[in-house]
Amino acid sequence: MYKTTMLTKDLVAASSKPLVLSILADGESYGYEIIQKVRELSGGQIEWSDGMLYPVLHRLERDGLIESEWKEAESGRERKYYFISSDGRKAIKTERQHWLAIHNTLCKLWKTKPVSI
């Protein structure tokens, strides 16, 4: 078993935008579920401090990339659901270009094979 280290604060801040937008592109979701998904997809390598996700969500909402609505779940519990806007979908494309550019450059430097997506 390798030991996972927490991402630095800067890296978390930078990567949260494409991660959240891409998760919401698959369908609406709420804070807790988003965090669970990120944890699951990264195999536990990306661990967010739970509360810190909400300022990120609110910032994305202010920028018009996502929207939100309070909804009642079947269990009777209310949650604030977030969903992506058309601007958000456009933003994913740009984010994708940027992150793949960084990824590919690092791969060349480290002489590992870029993961083609």
């Binding site: 509360g51 810190m52 300022p55 949650r79 604030k80």
Partner: protein
């Protein structure tokens, strides 16, 4: 096992929620959102076999330090935080203005010019003047001490929707306006009564419209601000999460 029966999960969550209210940067909507998160998180830990107390403390730790969170929220959307503050300030100004108007109207109305002992009237008006300062002061101190939460939750009824808020505020404005008219009418009646006995300048007569229009316009402006700045989470407060 013994611990589990002694630990009251709902009380713990309630206490945590109260702690959050101490941080002005965490708006009511944010607190509500964090609470739903905490509850989801607790449920997640419980499913993994942890008891109520362990689940609560782990979930609480995961959510993070309220102070730090508050700072992040302000950075994320400063205008939103301020909008909510402005709403509560406007609401306080509006309600205190209403209270002030009612008490000062009573003070004036109860100052007898004819009949009754003038001294009695004076005493009464002084008691009312003291009340005018004391009542808001007591309310503010109680709120500051975190009391009156129950009363505040009743207030929620009136700010559930923009329409309900507007109607409630409008009724209060109408009551204030009625008081204004009644008081200035009574005042003018007194002046007229005095004028019949001694020569008195008519400048002491109060034009009813001027006492009515100006404060009413001012109150209507606050009403508009209130409706405009009503935080969105209050508009959809249909079900309380339990």
């Amino acid at each position: 096992m013994e611990n589990q029966t002694r630990f009251d999960l709902n009380a713990a969550i309630e206490k945590w929620r109260q702690e959050l209210t101490a941080y002005a940067n965490l708006t009511a909507e944010v607190r509500r959102e964090l609470e739903t998160h905490l509850r989801d998180s607790i449920a997640g830990f419980q499913q993994r076999g942890l008891n109520n107390e362990e689940s609560f403390w782990l979930a609480r730790r995961r959510v993070g330090q309220p102070q730090q969170l508050g700072e992040e929220f302000v950075k994320a959307d400063p205008a939103k935080v301020w909008r909510e503050r402005v709403f509560w300030i406007c609401l306080a100004v509006f309600l205190l203005g209403f209270l002030e108007n009612i008490i000062s109207s009573l003070t004036q109305a109860l100052m007898p010019v004819r009949g009754g002992s003038f001294l009695d009237g004076l005493m009464l008006s002084e008691i009312l003047s003291v009340l005018r300062i004391l009542i808001p002061l007591i309310i503010i101190v109680l709120l500051g001490l975190g009391k009156m939460v129950w009363q505040l939750s009743k207030l929620k009824l009136f700010i559930e929707s923009r329409l309900r808020l507007a109607i409630t505020a409008f009724v209060l404005i109408a009551i204030s306006a009625t008081f204004d008219v009644v008081v200035s009418t009574m005042h003018n009646a007194k002046i007229n009564y005095l004028a019949s006995a001694i020569p008195i300048d008519h400048k002491y007569l109060v034009p009813i419209w001027s006492t009515l229009v100006e404060p009413t316009c001012y109150r209507l402006i606050i009403l508009l601000l209130l409706v405009w700045f009503l935080p969105p989470q209050n508009q959809k407060l249909s079900v309380q999460i339990k």
